[in-house]
């Protein structure tokens, strides 16, 4: 095939580049919309409950005295609180080392049709130095500032 003129070749290259990057951009923004998980505190959930099946990151403190392990020893029930509202959480799996009553936690999962929050993953940090920033912010919003060191 004939070799294109330099100017034309540059144009073709530039057009191809724009096309590829634009396509990637469109795909990426759709994927972003579909998969982004919003962070919500119990008060947010009380105000506007998310649709069942929608993945969210629920954050707050593990309410003291609410952790129970019913069933086959693999199920964990607890309440996440932001001092204003509470959300019931069930989780099946190994509990992270730093999961404690009264400490911060982020549970990633979704509500089932019965309105129970089923967590797929728990993220826990054990002291104020490692408090997840989202949780610290959510508590602050409810008037319970956390002293970050």
């Amino acid at each position: 095939m004939a070799v294109a003129k330099p100017k034309q070749q540059r144009l073709v290259l530039a057009l191809a580049a724009v096309a590829v990057l634009a396509a990637a951009g469109v795909i990426a923004s759709f994927a972003l919309q579909d998969t982004a998980a919003y962070f919500k505190a119990p008060a947010d959930i009380a105000a506007s409950p998310p649709a069942p099946g929608q993945t969210i990151r629920l954050g707050g403190l593990v309410k003291t005295g609410t952790v129970t392990r019913p069933g086959d020893g693999l199920e964990l029930h607890f309440i996440v609180t932001d001092m204003k509202a509470d959300t019931n959480v069930t989780y099946r799996g190994l509990v992270p080392d730093l999961f404690r009553e009264g400490q911060g936690v982020i549970a990633t999962g979704s509500f089932d049709a019965q309105g129970v929050f089923r967590a797929q993953e728990l993220l826990a940090k054990h002291d104020e130095k490692y408090m997840p920033p989202e949780v610290a912010k959510a508590l602050e919003k409810q008037g319970h500032p956390v002293n970050a060191s």
């Binding site: 998969t35 998980a37 919003y38 962070f39 693999l74 799996g93």
Partner: protein, 644 residues
């Protein structure tokens, strides 16, 4: 006394960097050779003094000198010796000192390497490196002094995050930094090339080994980080699309694109402006990675600095360098001559396609990493973008890349002869079909993504091996084929360990067992064990496959003494190229222990592929080293008669 000497050495190193930055700049501007010639000695001095400062800090850590604030905050006298040393860079200040050390050593390497583009060009490169070092010295000395004293000294230190007390800490950060900083050499070559108007095949030949070296080190650093996360975090995964991981992956992708585009400059003198832009982008992304990771924007084991002024300082530094480089680029781009043209089906076009794909991947990762941060910074919702996003976008692009990577090496430069393609790709085509059939019929794989993964790995692997077994292999083509083979091996490992994985979450009493297909694991024993600075509960599981013993896995739940913190240590045993992976959970109060088990076939191939890629980079370097050695020998043989 020693810490003060270290602090003083750091100042001397900063002064050397200052001289290294400005003396050659003035010298080259005023045509004063005496000033330009200062570039080499100042670079050597910077290396020496930074080395001394590092040794001084390491000494303070090793003897547990808690009168140094950094040591008191991050070390402990009971910590094993190895982690007392590697703990030097397991904190904000120390890791920055490691960064400037690697940077100074890169300057020494440039100063001592043969100046194939002339001493004037070398002086220019070293002065750019001096400018870059200078900013980091300023950051270190004014905002992150590692030698700050703590009076009165505490009798004991706080200790090191247990997750970091691992041999991985000895290699992962230094390798990663060496890769990042190696890209700063490519950056310096690009800026110097623009300032000296030297961008062309010669320049590309001189720059390429630095890129190949940096790329190989970065590959190793990332592969090691992935392996470390795999066995340390106990989540059973090997890549989590965490922003911290993306921060290292983005410069790697830019470096990969650069490594390919510079070949076009070298062979065909085309794509010059684009290659320069990539060189600037690769190092900018390295700095951005360090900024994201270290500024405290993210919570992770990597985030040390929580001081916002530090984040601001790093951001200004980054803006200064990126802005400066882009300004030079904008001014010089007009002068960079237009490249030569090429046919539609040619090696050049395939490399352009490679660069487009890699740029698209880079853009997608950049979006997924920065968008949540930007949204939050602007007061919007707090969202997190995780594996679903990246898997949906990156995996298809990677499959397309694998197909192209099988074909591209067979295309010739400039021309569009395609007649031989079908014959040369025949082995790869057969392997692809065979892999798909085996996956569906024998392995019972049903997901379309997994079948495509097996097929892509077979295609690229067979195509790369076809190149390796051909006669007339050069260092460059061998390096390329090895690196491509590495990609195929990693794809195979990732696909197989995901698609053929077996998983069980159970609560077991001692003596109970769990069955996963042909695999069976029996809980033999749970007992306390002790280490140098921890105690642990250790479970022993006996693993069999089809009734034949495979081995035992011993997951632990560790309690560290300082700082008092619990961690889980996964238990693993190998089977062929796969692993049985176990994590021990809590007792349920009635004598049962939670155990999470995975069988991950071929999982080790993921990191072996990474090793092969790095090896490919090193082999490609070999060609340049050999060419330089040959040239030197020629010079010597020419010089000898005269000397005699």
């Amino acid at each position: 006394m020693i810490p003060e000497l270290g602090h003083f050495a750091l100042w001397l190193a900063a002064m050397a960097a200052l001289a290294q930055a400005f003396a050659p700049t003035v010298g080259l501007w005023r045509n004063r050779d005496d000033l330009a010639d200062l570039a080499v000695p100042t670079a050597l001095a910077q290396g020496l003094f930074t080395g001394l400062a590092f040794v001084a800090l390491a000494y303070a850590f090793i003897i547990s000198d808690f009168s140094v604030k950094l040591v008191a905050a991050n070390s402990h006298s009971m910590k094993p010796d190895m982690y007392r040393f590697t703990g030097v860079w397991a904190n904000h200040e120390g890791s920055l000192l490691l960064w400037v050390l690697v940077m100074a050593l890169a300057g020494v390497a440039v100063a001592l390497a043969p100046a194939t583009l002339g001493s004037r060009f070398r002086a220019r490169v070293l002065s750019v490196q001096g400018f870059v070092s200078l900013g980091f010295f300023a950051f270190l000395l004014f905002a992150s002094n590692p030698f700050e004293r703590l009076i009165p000294a505490p009798t004991e230190g706080v200790g090191l995050n247990p997750l970091l007390q691992d041999p991985g800490l000895a290699f992962h950060p230094p390798l990663l930094y060496a890769g990042y900083v190696g890209l700063s050499v490519a950056f310096a070559f690009a800026v110097a090339g623009m300032l000296e108007n030297k961008v062309g095949p010669q320049w590309a030949r001189a720059t390429r080994p630095w890129i190949a070296g940096a790329w190989a080190l970065l590959t190793l650093g990332i592969a090691l980080g992935s392996y470390w996360a795999y066995y340390e975090l106990g989540w059973g995964g090997w890549w989590f699309w965490d922003p911290v991981e993306n921060a290292a992956l983005m410069p790697w992708i830019a470096a990969t694109a650069l490594l390919h585009s510079i070949a076009v400059v070298m062979k065909r003198d085309a794509l010059r402006a684009w290659t320069l832009l990539l060189a600037v982008a690769a190092f900018s992304l390295s700095m951005m990675g360090t900024f994201i990771v270290r500024s405290g924007l993210l919570t992770s084991v990597h985030a040390f600095a929580v001081d916002p002024t530090r984040g601001l300082f790093l951001m200004l530094l980054m803006a200064l360098y990126i802005g400066g480089a882009l300004t030079i680029y904008a001014l010089a781009a007009g002068r960079v001559a237009e490249g030569r043209q090429f046919a539609l089906v040619s090696r050049e076009t395939s490399l352009v396609a490679n660069n487009l794909l890699l740029s698209a991947m880079l853009g997608v990762i950049l979006l997924g990493t920065l968008y949540p941060m930007a949204l939050e910074a602007m007061g919007g919702a707090q969202i997190s973008v995780g594996p679903p996003y990246f898997n949906r976008t990156i995996v298809p692009m990677l499959l397309v890349a694998a197909v192209l990577m099988g074909i591209a090496p067979w295309l010739g430069w400039k021309r569009s002869a395609t007649g031989h393609l079908a014959r040369r790709l025949l082995p790869a085509s057969i392997a692809t079909a065979a892999a798909a059939v085996v996956a569906v019929l024998l392995l019972d794989v049903r997901g379309i993504g997994a079948i495509l993964g097996f097929a892509a790995a077979a295609w690229l692997g067979a195509a790369s091996i076809t190149i390796l077994v051909r006669r007339g292999l050069t260092f460059n083509s061998a390096g390329m084929a090895l690196a491509h083979l590495g990609v195929a091996v990693s794809i195979l490992g990732a696909t197989a360990s995901g698609a053929l994985q077996r998983e069980a979450l159970v609560a077991l009493r001692v003596g109970d067992s769990v069955q996963m297909g042909p695999w069976r694991a029996e809980l033999m024993d749970v007992r306390p064990v002790a280490g140098p600075n921890w105690t642990a509960i250790e479970a022993t599981l006996y693993v069999q496959r089809n009734g034949r013993p495979v081995g035992t896995v011993t997951p632990q739940s560790r309690m560290f003494i300082a700082p008092a913190q619990e961690t889980t240590e996964s238990g693993r045993t190998g089977w062929r190229m796969g692993e049985v992976y176990a994590v021990l959970g809590k007792p349920d109060g009635s004598g049962r222990w939670q155990v999470h088990l995975w069988v991950k076939p071929l999982v080790r191939l993921i990191w072996i592929g990474g090793l092969l890629m790095a090896l490919g980079g090193v082999v490609a370097l070999g060609g340049r080293v050999r060419a330089l050695a040959l040239r030197r020998r020629k010079l010597v043989t020419f010089a000898e008669p005269q000397a005699a």
